[in-house]
Amino acid sequence: MPWSFPARLQQSLPGPSEHGPHFRPRWRFGAVTAMLLLVLGLAVSACGNEAETPNDTPGSLVVYSGRSESLVDPIIQQFKVASGIDVKVRYGGTAEMAATILEEGENSPADVFFAQDPAGLGAVAGRFAPLPESILGTVPAKYRSPEGVWVGLSGRARVTVYNTDKLSPEQLPDDIWGFTDPQWKGRIGWAPTNGSFQAMVTAMQVQWGEEKTRDWLIGIKANEPKAYSNNTSIVAAVGSGEVEVGFPNHYYLYRFLQEEGESFAARNYHFRESGPGGVMLVAGAGILETAPNRENADRFLQFMLSLVAQQYFASQTYEYPVIERVIINRLLTPLEEINAPDIDMADLDDLEGTLALLRETGILP
C-alpha cells in the first residue's frame, strides 16, 4: 500500500471507504454547490421583490422612527387604512436613526423622522424642510421648532418615581433641588446618558442658569446616585427597592403596572413646585427636505395631530396630547396638576452646553 488515508479523512466519509476518497465527495460537493446556488437565487429574487416600489395612486411613505414599534405601530396602521398610503416604517433608537439620516445625506429614502426627544430632532434640523402652517398652527408654540421645521406630537413629563414601601409623597421634596440634601445619599437612581435626562438638565440651565445647574449636578453626584442605562431600568430598580427614588419620564411606570399589576411598589410623584424637574418634553417629527413623498408626509403629520391620533397617545401610550379637547387616560395625573414649567422645546434641542457640563462634572465619560 503506497499510502493510506489518515483517520480524519475516513471519518469524514460515510460508511467503509475501501475505494478511497476521490469518488465519494463528488456528489456531496455537487449537492452543496447546488444548495448554495439555490440559496443565492432565493436571496436575489427576494431582493428583487424588496427593491420594487409600487407606484399606485396613493403612493407610499417612508418613516424612520426612533419611537418604539409597540407604541406607535397601532396608530400608523390606522393612518395606513384611512389614507390608503403604503407606509413603511424603519424602527430603531432615536440616536441611531438620526445618525443614519445624517449619513445617508441627500440620498436618504426617508420622508419623515419620528423622534423620541427634541435633541434627536435638533440633530437633524438642518436636513428638515419647513412645515406648512396647517401643521404648525395646530401645536402650541412651545412644543414646536421656532424655524417651523418640526412639531411635537405627544408630551412626556419628567417625574420622580419613588418606592412605596419606603417612602410616602409627603417625604419627598417640593422640587428637584431638594434631592441634593445629604439625606438622599445612596437612595437615588438616574440615567445620565439618557436623552430625556439630558433634556431636563438643559431645561435646568434655561431656568436656573449654568451655576445652579452645575451645583445641582455636583450635589446629586455627592449623594452617590446609581447610574442606570435608561428610564426602564430606573423604574425597575425603584420598584424592586434597589434605590428609593429615580428620575424617569412619567409613562414608564404604567408599563410596569400593566405587566406586574397594582402590587408593583413604585409610583410617580410630580413636584409640588413648578421647576425643571417636572419639565414637559415632546416626542415629535419633521419632514426631510429630500423627502420623495412630500405630500404623503404632510398628510401623515396632519393625521398624527388629529383628534384620533392624539386620543390614541393619551389613552394607549399614557402620554399627554399636544392639542386641546383630548381626554387623557384616567391613570394619568391631569395636565393642570403636574406643575410643568413653561419652557420652549426649541431651547432644549441644543445639547452641547449640557454635555460639556456633564463631562466637566465627571458624570459622563
Binding site: 503506497p2 499510502w3 463631562r359 465619560p365
Partner: protein, 104 residues
C-alpha cells in the same frame, strides 16, 4: 527516505513556491476590501474632525477607559478559556480524564 517521499518533498517545494490560484486570491481580496469598508468610513469621518474633538479624545479619561477596556478584555478572555477548555475536554472524554486503568 522512500522514493515516494522524496518526490513529495520536491512537490512540496513546488507548492510553496506556487502563487495562490485565481479562484482563491480574487474572492479573498474582494472579501478583504469589503471588510475594509468600515475602517475606510472611520478614516473619512475622522479626517473632518475639529480641534475640540481632539481635546476630548486625548483627555486622561480616554486613557482610563482604554485601561478599563483592556482589563475587561483580559479577564473575559482568561475566564472563558478557563471554563471552555475543561468543559470541551471533559464532555468528550479525553485521555487525561480516563479511568484508573488508563486504557486508551
Amino acid at each position: 527516505m522512500s522514493p515516494i517521499h522524496s518526490i513529495l518533498g520536491v512537490r512540496r517545494r513546488l507548492l510553496a513556491r506556487q502563487q495562490p490560484s485565481v479562484v482563491i486570491w480574487i474572492p479573498a481580496t474582494l472579501i478583504g476590501l469589503t471588510a475594509f469598508l468600515p475602517l475606510l468610513y472611520l478614516l473619512i469621518r475622522t479626517v473632518g474632525l475639529g480641534n475640540d474633538a481632539w481635546d476630548i479624545l486625548f483627555r486622561t479619561r480616554t486613557l482610563v477607559i482604554l485601561g478599563n477596556t483592556a482589563v475587561l478584555t483580559a479577564i473575559v478572555t482568561a475566564a472563558s478559556t478557563a471554563i471552555a477548555v475543561p468543559v470541551a475536554c471533559s464532555r468528550y472524554g479525553q485521555t487525561f480524564l480516563s479511568d484508573e486503568r488508563g486504557q486508551c
